[in-house]
């Protein structure tokens, strides 16, 4: 999903879920920050690099695709952008364990991990809510792709068609110029290059199909590597509407309005009277819907929405005393990111896959491994003491 949805649409959903203007802005900020919290940013903040929720193209170019590098990549992209739908799924045909482990990382909405993600944010900070909303909405946009480099899963044939609103099909052309904007009028989109190497970074997520999953208006069909020569139709307008309404449901649960969060429930009632406006924004053929979502958000709350500024909470974090950093906005975001990464890594590890790395059960074996995660154990102790 693009930054417009991850910031302004999330703001709208938060307002509709009952959060105040200020809370909604913080939720939207955290949702958007998930796409910016890189190791580079964290190092500048002198914060734990293990809390990174994304990687810059340049950082990925530097990553060695040995087992450690691959685990780093998989931890980040599977935890925050390509949440696996079903970690126990099996391909139709008999296959190797190695293939099955990658197949199981294919992202999709309404999986068990989504429920765990939303429940993990319950009773936590506003920043944890924003982080969970990012993950939730990406499960809809990034369906059918996995958050690990894999040619056998994420590659696709070059026959990809856009299905236009009148039902006609137009062949999509892919080019590999990262700096040239997508040409919507002629269906020319930028994608990553084809690399015939299983673990190439070019085969990460939806890179091979470019930004198509990130545009709300587009409906297209393609043939993914894993699909057994069957074409898949991806209906983004429908998926984005479901994502929006599911965010409202999830945030109502996180606010305490519902006792539990159940997958497959969408709060269409909350958008009664706004359906046409939202459908119009989602279906509008444009590179960014930021202005339209912003206008809707301001109409809903009656407040002006601040433009996103990555530096907004930087000084608060840098100036805080060492013991108080976890109580700042960025500190709370970092804690939420560590907890999410820890949870997803553990669930993947429990299926017998080491693609996301190793996970140690603290209750059974005590603390081992990456130091930054000690923060989680400290917070756990504090919670027990309280």
């Amino acid at each position: 999903m693009n930054s417009d949805f991850h910031y302004y649409a999330t703001y709208c959903a938060a307002i509709l879920a009952g959060y105040s203007h200020e809370e909604s802005q913080d939720i939207a900020y955290s949702d958007r920050f998930v796409d910016q919290c890189t190791v580079t940013v964290l190092k500048k903040l002198k914060a734990p690099a293990a809390a990174a929720t994304t990687q810059l193209p340049l950082e990925m170019m530097e990553v060695r695709t040995d087992i450690v590098g691959l685990q780093d990549i998989t931890r980040i992209w599977s935890s925050f952008h390509f949440l696996p739908r079903d970690l126990n799924s099996d391909p139709e045909k008999r296959c190797s364990k190695r293939y099955r482990n990658k197949y199981r990382l294919i992202c999709g909405p309404n999986g068990e991990l989504l429920k765990s993600t939303v429940e993990l944010a319950h009773g936590k900070s506003i920043q944890a809510v924003g982080l969970a909303m990012h993950i939730l909405s990406d499960t809809w946009a990034h369906t059918f792709f996995a958050g690990t480099p894999s040619m056998v899963i994420n590659n696709m044939t070059n026959r990809c068609f856009e299905i236009l609103p009148d039902g006609t099909e137009r062949r999509i052309t892919f080019r590999h110029s990262a700096l040239t904007p997508d040409d919507l009028d002629n269906s020319i989109y930028t994608s990553s290059i084809y690399v015939n190497y299983e673990n190439s970074i070019m085969n990460l997520g939806h890179g091979r199909i470019g930004h198509l999953p990130d545009y709300s208006f587009i409906k297209y069909k393609f043939m993914p590597s894993w699909g057994g020569y069957e074409e898949i139709i991806k209906d983004n307008p429908s998926d984005y509407m479901h994502a929006f309404c599911q965010m409202i449901t999830a945030m109502k649960y996180l606010r305490g309005e519902y006792d539990s969060f159940e997958c497959g429930k969408y709060d269409f009632d909350a958008i009664k009277g706004l359906e046409d406006e939202i459908v119009a924004i989602i279906n509008k053929r444009q590179l960014s819907s930021a202005d339209d979502w912003k206008a809707l958000g301001e109409k809903l709350s009656g407040h002006e929405i601040e433009p996103y500024d990555i530096e907004k909470y930087k000084n608060e974090y840098l100036n805080a005393a060492k013991g108080d950093k976890d109580n700042t906005a960025l500190g709370r975001f970092i804690l939420a990111a560590l907890a999410q990464k820890s949870m997803v890594t553990s669930k993947i590890f429990q299926t017998g896959s080491k693609l996301a790395g190793y996970s140690v059960d603290y209750q059974q074996k005590g603390f081992k491994g990456v130091k930054a995660y000690r923060k989680l154990t400290e917070n756990d102790k504090e919670a027990d003491d309280e």
Binding site: V68, R98, G228, V370
Partner: protein, 179 residues
């Protein structure tokens, strides 16, 4: 990374460094060794690709191409191995091409990094050095009939790869999880 993988990587890294030292001490006969190693490496890589096809790529749309590539690489590996006792000049050109190509890729990455306003100086320097080094080796090796320098270049690369492997194997990887 589990304990076995760590120990395996450390041993491979140490072997690479020791092998580089051995080549450095006796460069005269090393072309045969290098060609043999290249042949073995390509053959192993060919078998690895075959393994990849049977365990992964056969499930993938268009996966048959991996099978064909595996056969070609396997064939090339056997061919390179057979060159070991025939012509050291071809081996030199082959090694130089790989070295120069790696440098060229580094330069391209540096140019891309400039576009993204990232750090590019070190990469550009390394890339340019590799290309210049390859050209210099070609001049020294062919015109001045001194091929040992190429072996020294190969040794440096081998030591670097070995060290990186050892350092990587010592990185912490486990993540704590609280129920």
């Amino acid at each position: 990374m589990n304990r076995f993988q760590r120990i395996k990587d450390i041993l491979i890294g140490l072997f690479m460094i020791l092998f580089a030292v051995a080549l450095f001490l006796a460069p005269e006969d090393s072309y045969v060794i290098i060609a043999t190693i290249l042949g073995v490496m390509l053959t192993v890589y060919g078998f690895k690709m075959l393994w990849f096809y049977f365990t992964m790529a056969r499930h993938m749309v268009g996966g048959k191409s991996v099978l064909f590539q595996a056969i070609v690489v396997l064939d090339l590996g056997l061919f390179t191995g057979s060159l070991a006792y025939m012509n050291s000049f071809i081996i030199i050109i082959y090694l130089l091409s790989i070295f120069a190509f790696a440098g060229f890729v580094d330069i391209l990455r540096a140019v891309e990094a400039i576009r993204f306003k990232g750090s590019w100086k070190a990469r550009l320097f390394m890339g340019a050095t590799s290309v210049v080094f390859a050209i210099a080796l070609l001049i020294i090796g062919i015109i001045h009939h001194d091929r040992n320098i190429l072996v020294y270049g190969f040794c440096i690369n081998l030591v670097y790869t070995g060290l990186v492997r050892i350092i990587t194997s010592l990185r912490k990887t486990a993540i704590v999880y609280i129920q």
